[in-house]
Subunit: 402 residues, 2 copies
Amino acid sequence: MVGMRDVARKAGVSVSTVSLVVNNAGYVSTDMRAKVEAAMRELDYIPNELARNLYRDRTDTVGVIVPTIAHPFFASLTSALQHEFAERGLKTLLCSTVDADKGEAEYVDMLQRHMMDGIVMAAHTAHPADYWTSIGRPIVAFDRYLGPGIPSVDSDHEQGGRLIARQLIDSGARHVVLIGGPRAQFHDLAAHVDDAVADGNTTFPTVRYYLTLEHELDAAGVRHDYVEAGEVSEFAGYAAAARELFDRFDDVDAVVSSDTGAALCVQEAIRRGFSIPRDLQIIAYDGTYVADAAGLRLSVIRQDFAALASVLASRLSDCIAAGAGEGAAGGASKSSAGAAGAAGDAGTAEASDAAAVSGDGLADGVAGDTAAGDATDNAAAQSGGFGETVVPVTFVPGETTR
Amino acid sequence: MVGMRDVARKAGVSVSTVSLVVNNAGYVSTDMRAKVEAAMRELDYIPNELARNLYRDRTDTVGVIVPTIAHPFFASLTSALQHEFAERGLKTLLCSTVDADKGEAEYVDMLQRHMMDGIVMAAHTAHPADYWTSIGRPIVAFDRYLGPGIPSVDSDHEQGGRLIARQLIDSGARHVVLIGGPRAQFHDLAAHVDDAVADGNTTFPTVRYYLTLEHELDAAGVRHDYVEAGEVSEFAGYAAAARELFDRFDDVDAVVSSDTGAALCVQEAIRRGFSIPRDLQIIAYDGTYVADAAGLRLSVIRQDFAALASVLASRLSDCIAAGAGEGAAGGASKSSAGAAGAAGDAGTAEASDAAAVSGDGLADGVAGDTAAGDATDNAAAQSGGFGETVVPVTFVPGETTR
DNA sequence: CTGAAAGCGCTTACAG
DNA sequence: CTGAAAGCGCTTACAG
């Protein structure tokens, strides 16, 4: 492998000079530069980034922790994130918890070993809040609360619940059935984060749309039921749930589920000869491409992946930049604690009050056009704050609502 | 940041000793080990992997280059790859070419800068073969020929074409319409790789299923047409193609396309009141989850993602292991060229004849059960060989064929 | 503007 | 079994 030393030798200069040329930094005379560049070309020199990584104590790589990418929701999210990170000069390491028997632990470990500059946590975790808070490295959570000081970003699921309720109530639905994950999870997991709940949060923000929707339906006197579909991303579970639903409730006239669940309901409904949307309305939550490839173009609550990713990325960038001061490389910096600068200890700053809930005051828009711009701008404006950021969702009518 | 030096000082030993303990290597007396471990615990010491990476000249990270992960096909492939790599102790860096304006160049660059140990190339590329061959670092190609010496892995698309033909002919289809990418690509891209074509390869192995299918239909005297759908992964293009298809050919009684195209055809056919599969059969190529979430459970030619990923991963592992001898780190090894060992120059070995086409002699199975085991075993058996490895596909009947 | 030196944090021969 | 030393390949103050 040809290194800087080889180039320096060949060009008859010092490695320092080569380095300056390579990085296009400092002052180098034109002929020195020419000599070095010629040598680099002749030797086919390509700098070894590992050395720079060590010196800079940075890899420009961030981890995205998801259950699996083989699920349209996380594929869409991850895709958007990768895009946003790429624009910020960051590479995306794919961290799938279904492939890691220790769950996310392995990736957190890599984060601590400095192989990644930060992570986006978008998978389940059973750890108590102080586990996350004590890590002391850049982490942002997607659609879940991990602990004080850990920024989180999620869609406005309460708005989502309200939008669904409005559509169903306005169109005269009389019996709504929801298909979703094991209902027990709602509380089991919430137990870990009492303080979060006290703040009005729950571990699984997604759950909020169920709760909000049920609340609104109750208020309007519309009957509703819930069918459990096993773990997310388990196709068979949703297919079974779709069958169960029609077997159990022969007067159902509206179904609400994730894209996949909704798509499988359409499939089952077609088999059973339902007329959609006349006899049966179906609303999908998420709005991935699966909703477009279903038997009918699904009416969806669309999560704004672009906006979510944008906010997540800028949050994480901020955390990384903030942490940069501390363990900086180069020269003398083996100090212990004194260096706490103006930035403060970002890792453990209180979260709750800084929370800026964007979209909360927004009119519940029924529009195909994205609110990404707004959300992104809000995020940018409050980029220093920690806590929860909420991104609006939109109802996009398709062929499955009336 | 607490480093080995700090631990050594605290434990009253040398850094060498700490290193030995950390790596659980060499001989360390029990009390030395105890002292060190105590110090590590007290200081919360976590080794910095960047230093190891530099020394080992390895990151245990591989890049997976795909057009975009927001497409079920590449999502499935990438997911399977990540799984396989994880089992081999390798992390997966997500490299999406739609996010990189320079296409794959940026990632090849990272490969050369040693930020990745190797890459799986599964996206379009316009580079001539010698570009790839001259890179001299571990690369395997998925579903495309990149040049001599670059192993490639793909599904047996000719078998796929034959399986479709058999199904359609046996069931009495009279007018088959295919929906696929721009037909011009078939040849434009092939021009870059004349020698590959001479070997019976084409740049886009996927194309082979069209060609084989058309050939078989011709032989059986079944009429067929082709509708172009624009770039892959462009939803709108497929939706438009589905409409065009029915507008142009009112006697069509069979459609063949990718999962997405097929799903959108089902959607359009339902709108137009076709009875599937009585009046119209639909066969999807790929077999991702989209095929299951369509309006009807699609009959598919299933690509064996698990087997493909397994072969790709072991190929790449082999290349990485083979390359290990050359630029090895540690001690004196700044030699230039003499070190060419028994492994030979893997990067430029001839490819053609070593090609082991597994599955070629297999009976065209009509089975739901995977042939992954076979393919994987074959691959293992021939793991030293370069060239093309072909993985069988299966026809999985659904609700859209008769 | 250029070079010698120290350093990034860890590893591995190599003497004791 | 343990430690001092050299080294991974590149960077950045710091003298000239």
